[in-house]
């Protein structure tokens, strides 16, 4: 569906994208994640030609975006919807008219617009808000209008630029569920740009991690987060407060044993004490994976690691907050 190869872009002196390559398959939800200023929004805009790039190729639905003439580019954009962090709705148009905008742009007859917009508002659950101005809607409702508008022209690809970053956690989940529902129902390819790691974990089978214009990792989302390649850990892990004596070990629980009482059985069979420094449960699409950071005394380290190796657990030894050893 989308192939990006060796993409470079600079703004004046500043290199914003460096040698980015990625592939997106039809029908998948692909994540692009990174901190602000990493270049992810720019990368997204290269896909529909809102931004030009200096070298490399961007092939979207068999067309090279950078070399398309203006007319062809507009026709390509017609097949790609886009939603935004700030929703970008027209304040002076009501909900109906906002959703109708792309249809007007492409000269859809009035009756066709009426039916299409009604169907879209039903899809996003806003059929009773057709006459409202955006100013009277909540953030989540505005984003639903944005989604309805983005789907108006039956696109094959939906580009999401920080679509949930301005929303509260509960609304975020409802918007993500809606996107996932649309992805399944319409077989829509979705590219999701975000700085929220939880969002890609929840939504994307595959993810590209962008840092300072560089692709720092790409692949299966769960693999990336469970066994991050060196240099990437600090980017994607929260740093745990740690105890000065002893060694911190970060454990990841694969899906099969996430629900077993692994910690207590380890304590029992090794007969030693360790403290729990931090932990979390994270949702990866349909799975819930657990993370736990434990602190053991240095003299017990080898014994503990032997046990972990035997149990085929994912673990990393964290030293001074900096991960140095890793076992996936």
């Amino acid at each position: 569906m989308i192939q990006v190869e060796n993409l470079h872009k600079r703004y004046g002196e500043r290199q914003v994208l460096r040698d980015i390559s990625l592939q997106v398959e039809a029908g998948e939800i692909f994540g692009i994640v990174g901190h602000s200023g990493a270049g992810k929004s720019t990368l997204l805009r290269c896909l529909n030609g809102l931004e030009k790039y200096d070298s490399g190729t961007v092939v979207v639905m068999d067309q090279e975006v950078g070399s398309l003439a203006e007319k062809k580019l507009l026709t390509l954009r017609r097949r790609m919807g886009m939603i935004f962090q700030t929703f970008n709705l027209m304040e002076r148009r009501n909900v109906f008219e906002n959703v109708a905008f792309p249809l007007e742009v492409w000269h859809t007859p009035k009756a066709g617009i009426r039916d299409r917009v009604a169907a879209l508002l039903r899809l996003v659950g806003l059929e009773d808000k057709a006459g409202e101005r955006p100013a009277n809607l909540s953030g989540g409702q505005k984003q639903r209008v944005g989604i309805a508008r983005a789907l108006a022209l039956n696109p094959e690809i939906l580009l999401c630029d920080e679509a949930t970053s301005a929303l509260d956690p509960r609304t975020t989940l409802s918007i993500l569920d809606l996107l996932r529902d649309i992805n399944a129902r319409l077989n829509l390819t979705i590219i999701l740009v975000t700085h929220q790691m939880e969002v890609v974990k929840r939504m994307c089978r595959r993810t590209l991690i962008l840092d300072n214009g560089l692709a720092r990792g790409t692949g299966e989302t769960a693999e990336l987060f469970l066994a991050p390649p060196p240099g990437l850990r600090r980017l994607i892990h929260d740093e745990y407060a740690h105890i000065s004596q002893g060694v911190n070990i970060r454990l990841g629980f694969p899906k099969e044993i996430a629900r077993e009482g692994i910690i207590s059985s380890m304590a029992r069979s090794l007969d030693l004490d360790f403290s729990i420094v931090g932990g979390s449960l994270e949702r990866y699409q349909e799975d819930v994976l657990g993370f736990l950071v434990i602190n053991v005394l240095p003299e017990h380290l080898e014994k503990t690691l032997d046990y972990l190796r035997a149990r085929k657990l994912r673990w990393q030894v964290l030293d001074d907050g900096q991960p140095e050893d890793c076992h996936a």
Binding site: L50, N88, L89, M90, E91, R92, V105, L153
Partner: protein, 228 residues
């Protein structure tokens, strides 16, 4: 013995005598302001569209063209109106066939207002949220559609407020045009009130101008609230 007329009756009589002239001058003023506003809005709109197309953050940046427009607008705006009035007399004669009267005043008023309108509307257009423009582009809208379906409608309330600024400015300018035979209330105030020491005429003319400013501003405020 017939009663001497009261001062109020005298005043009323005087006002009645002046009314036709005040009325005619008022209509002349409205005529000048309306048409010069109308024509300068048309031309200024075209100018502002060119500026947001070619401008640094424009839809189709052309720094060379923008710099020329930018300097031309600044030049036009720095030109004292009274000088412009005289300087473009040949153009005025070419268009209207005369250089006196309110029809002739419309030409310099319009010419003076075009760069002003261009700048006001450019500012209004730039105020439209860039994200909204980007969204329109993302759905395949071309530049003409972005200008007429997005920028213009979104900027409309602010433009209406600037129409009041424009009309009131032109009302002031029209009084100046009156000074050189342009007709209208300014002409009346100077001819009778100043040159012939008929202070009451001058006061009436000024009162009508004040009233006009109030009405123009109120009407535009009304439409602004309605459009928002």
């Amino acid at each position: 013995m017939p009663e001497a007329p009261s001062s109020f009756a005298l005043w009323l009589e005087r006002l009645a005598a002046l009314t036709p002239e005040l009325l005619e001058s008022s209509l002349d003023t409205l005529y000048m302001v309306f048409f010069s506003s109308f024509f300068s809005l048309l031309a200024g709109f075209a100018l502002a569209v060119c500026m947001i197309l070619t401008g640094p953050a424009g839809l189709n940046p052309r720094p060379g063209i923008y710099r020329v427009l930018d300097v031309a607008v600044n030049l036009g705006r720095s030109f004292p109106f009274i000088i412009l009035l005289i300087a473009i007399i040949p153009l005025t004669r070419l268009i209207t066939g005369t250089t006196i009267g309110s029809a002739a005043s419309i030409v310099p008023l319009t010419v003076a207002a075009i760069p002003f309108v261009g700048r006001l509307l450019e500012a209004n257009f730039l105020e439209v949220d860039r994200g909204v423009l980007e969204a329109a582009r993302a759905f395949g809208a071309n530049n003409a559609q972005i200008i007429f379906k997005v920028i213009l409608p979104e900027a409309l309330p602010a433009i209406v407020l600037n129409v009041a600024v424009l009309a009131i400015t032109l009302l002031g300018y029209s009084a100046m045009a009156g000074a050189v035979g342009g007709g209208g209330l300014g002409d009346l105030a100077i001819k009778y009130g100043y040159n012939r020491f008929q202070v009451d005429v001058m006061i009436y003319a000024v009162c009508i101008l004040v009233l006009m400013v109030q009405i123009i501003q109120s009407v535009c405020n009304f439409f602004y609230k309605k459009l928002r």
